[in-house]
Symmetry: C2
Subunit: 313 residues, 2 copies
């Protein structure tokens, strides 16, 4: 049976069956959040609202962020990454993906045998590599995940318990993951109200490049284009709702997006090349001035977008 079949069997099992002798899938005594910003803080808030953890710890690089998260009631206490690894039975990693390897290395010597780790990172291929390097033989304790939810807002103050409600979470199981670890991670995401879907890490990164990373890139390139336009000040003064929608994603954390672009660089470079080809073809259509072909081009895009909206869940 393939890995994906295992995963699908686990996804189908409802309610989750508790593997004999393992930590119960539906119980988290101590949850640790590494990186209590929008993603980590919302996971904490959702798990707390579901009553799915007894105690929530927070760790991370910036003390002031942890203090804010504590004051907001997202976490019960502030700990070091080593303390989190030594005390938590469920760890959620929500720092920029470029930091994972070091965090895994820091945690590895302290991890309890039954502890599971999942994450909220936007790329998966390199995250899996970082887990192999950083966790070594404990790599099976890490069940990579990616919630398709977010906001251009940042920090603990942007966290909300319903961020994952009704949203999709991609779980990319590793061959090393025991079924009970996968089960616990799926259970936690479902407690947040999310729909869990299984994807291979490589395909995950390709799909995310297309639907998330490339739009961010194009919006950032567009903002740069506007800043270098001769009418730049007037442009910005006149810009309306279309501009606002089209560029909203470009506000996202540059640190987070730098890591995403670097971690998914090869796929992104190929996506940009493919986009450039379509852009050049479209330029030729406009240059030719053939109104029928021009309208067909715009219509195809418009119909696809309207259809997507109509099918949106």
């Amino acid at each position: 049976m393939s890995q994906t079949s295992d995963m699908n069997a686990i996804l189908r099992a409802q309610p989750a069956t508790h593997a004999e002798g393992h930590f119960p899938a539906d119980r988290i005594d101590t949850l640790a959040i590494i990186g209590v910003g929008l993603i980590g803080g919302s996971f904490a808030a959702a798990i707390r609202q579901a009553g799915a953890a007894h105690r929530i710890m927070g760790a991370g690089r910036r003390h002031e962020v942890l203090v804010e998260a504590h004051e907001l009631g997202l976490i019960d206490e502030i700990v070091s990454i080593e303390q989190a690894a030594a005390q938590a039975d469920f760890i959620f990693l929500a720092t920029p993906v470029g930091s994972y390897e070091l965090i895994f290395k820091t945690m590895a010597p302290h991890l309890l045998d039954h502890t599971v780790i999942t994450d909220g990172g936007s790329t998966k291929n390199n995250v899996v590599q970082a887990a192999h390097v950083g966790l070594g033989e404990r790599v099976g304790q890490f069940v990579p995940a990616h919630p398709i939810a977010g906001s251009h807002l940042m920090g603990p103050s942007a966290a909300k318990a319903d961020l994952y409600m009704g949203r999709q979470v991609v779980v990319c199981t590793l061959p090393e993951n025991p079924a009970h670890a996968v089960e616990r991670v799926i259970h936690a995401w479902r407690a947040c109200g999310a729909h869990v879907r299984s994807l291979d890490p490589k395909q995950h990164d390709e799909v995310m490049a297309t639907i998330s990373h490339l739009p961010h890139w194009l919006a950032a390139v567009y903002m740069t284009h506007v800043l270098t336009d001769p009418n730049s000040n007037l442009d910005l003064a006149m810009a309306g709702t279309g501009f606002a929608d089209f560029t909203r994603i470009a506000q996202g954390s540059e640190e987070m997006w730098r890591d995403i672009m670097m971690q998914n660089r090869e796929v992104m470079l190929a996506q940009i090349k493919a986009y450039q080809v379509v852009l050049s073809e479209a330029h030729q259509v406009l240059e030719s001035g053939d109104e029928l072909i021009l309208q067909a081009f715009l219509q195809r895009a418009a119909i696809a977008r309207r259809k997507w909206e109509a099918n949106r869940t």
Copy 2:
């Protein structure tokens, strides 16, 4: 005194002074809307809500649209373009810009001397040319305008009285426009709740290409890219809020956008070329893998977008 100075003097005059012997600036006996869709229907609804017209006529190519607009109470009666020209003292043209020349030609022989025409078209350079050809010596009766407001929704059912409330309307006065005609058009737009701003038609088209036409083009190219991606179905199934925002404008009427792109083609071709240069430069940044430069690129775009949001009125 230059044309722009005249315009600014009129913009400053508050309340509007009524030129002796001319039709009062604050009165519309019969308003005619040519093209009663989102833009035309919203103008009708706003003018009616402001109590600024006694009677509202609607004309246009598609009878079923006019019937719908009549049933919705946007217009009081359905007339031909010739009847509209012969009876209205204020005409609002809100059909795709490619249709203007023919409509101007149809109206010209019937227009009353005191009637003013304004429009809601997204391009202005070619619209002014169409007015010269179509209206001939009556060109001074046309005061071109462009409300920076809209929606991806279409048709009379999408019309709403507050569409222009608090929005900017660009008025591009012609050297042939008498002051009282400009004054009446400004008064009507202000009655809709809009802020009136003066721009030269050429600069209007350049600014609009940057902040509106290019984003639409890039979103349409992006949708085409997604449709041709090997993971296309999975892409669309997984797409979330960032994708939704980034592509929302691509839903707009392909007929309207075909005309906009054709009418503003030279400016758009230059804009696309300039965007391609930035896209290639950004590609090199990502390819080089220099994280500092990559972050600086993303940060510049993010800061500009956040600043724009903060300054947004």
